[in-house]
């Protein structure tokens, strides 16, 4: 399940944000990948379409790495 979400995020980052696939790992921070806060909001909008999980802005505050985002989505998927 979590691996699926990580794969989905990886796909979005490479296809929509142009992040090189080699740079992407679970412990990479969005900041290091060149995404700012507005990019992260955009990413969550795409994730919402693909996973059906809606992340609110306040839930993003402590999301730094891809793994943080995966955990947050897994949490909400229950």
């Amino acid at each position: 399940m979590s691996q699926d979400v990580l794969n989905t995020i990886t796909e979005i980052l490479t296809e929509e944000f142009g992040v090189p696939a080699d740079d992407i790992s679970a412990d990479a921070t969005f900041e290091k990948l060149g995404l700012d806060s507005l990019d992260v909001v955009e990413l969550t909008l795409v994730l919402e379409e693909k996973t059906g999980v809606k992340l609110e802005d306040e839930e993003l505050e402590d999301v730094r790495t891809l793994q943080d985002a995966v955990n947050k989505i897994a949490e909400k998927q229950g």
């Binding site: 507005l38 909001v41 955009e42």
Partner: protein, 240 residues
């Protein structure tokens, strides 16, 4: 793909002309109204293209949210025009806090609520045009218009900041600053305020609502993607 344009205050003078101009450019226009549905429906019916009346009270967050739900159900939100506005003019010493607050609430806070709601759908589309209707008074001031001028000057600072925030995402934010336009709103102005506004313009005449709408239509166009954070005067030269 249906491209949606939402115009707040869509049944007023500038609003109605803007709805018609955007409908003519192929947008599905949502004629936003806070008051009379009949007038908004008449504007929608008069549009040469797809248009419908939608209730949006810009002072009420839940009303704004509901209007944006209609927008996203209709198609891709491409254009938002912050046009809803009031002018409640008086000399400052007679202007009580409630009247000042109300002007700011509609003209400035309203644009904030509407623009904020527009960001998510525009971000997803990586395209958007947020156009706010200010006034030449924002730049020049006018007797009896402290509250109105403050609210409209606020829109300019708001828009420039928003333009910086969203520029990389294909979303532009601009201001149109009309001079005196004869509308139901400006009918409420005192004779002195109206005359001084017309006298400011080297053209020596009032601005037509269609002329303001033409500027909005221009800023809404796909090819205007490199214009952001701009204040476009449509004032007969009153701001010179």
């Amino acid at each position: 793909m249906t491209r949606v344009a939402l115009v707040t205050g869509g049944s007023g003078g500038i609003g109605a002309a803007t709805c018609q101009a955007l409908a003519a450019d192929g947008f599905h226009v949502l004629v936003g109204f806070g008051g009379s549905q009949d007038r908004a429906q008449a504007v929608a019916d008069a549009c040469d293209g797809a248009a419908q009346a939608v209730h949006i009270d810009v002072t009420d967050e839940s009303s704004v949210t509901a209007a944006f739900e209609v927008a996203t159900e209709t198609g891709t939100l491409a254009v938002v025009v912050n046009n809803a506005g009031i002018a409640d003019d008086d000399l400052l010493m007679r202007l009580d806090p409630a009247r000042f607050d109300r002007t700011i609430e509609v003209n400035l806070r309203g644009a904030y609520l509407v623009s904020r709601a527009a960001i998510r759908p525009m971000l997803r589309a990586r395209h958007g045009r947020i156009i706010s209707v200010a006034s030449v008074v924002a730049l020049r001031g006018n007797v009896g218009q402290t509250a109105y001028a403050a609210s409209k000057a606020g829109l300019i600072g708001f828009t420039k900041s928003l333009a910086r925030e969203l520029a990389r995402k294909g979303i532009t934010a601009n201001v149109v600053a009309p001079g005196f336009v004869a509308t139901a709103m400006t009918d409420e102005l005192g004779d002195a305020a109206r005359e001084s506004l017309v006298d400011m313009a080297p053209t020596g005449r009032a601005v037509e609502a269609d002329e303001v709408a033409a500027a909005i239509r221009f800023l809404a166009a796909d090819l205007s993607g490199s214009i952001t954070g701009a204040v476009l005067p449509v004032d007969g030269g009153a701001g010179i």
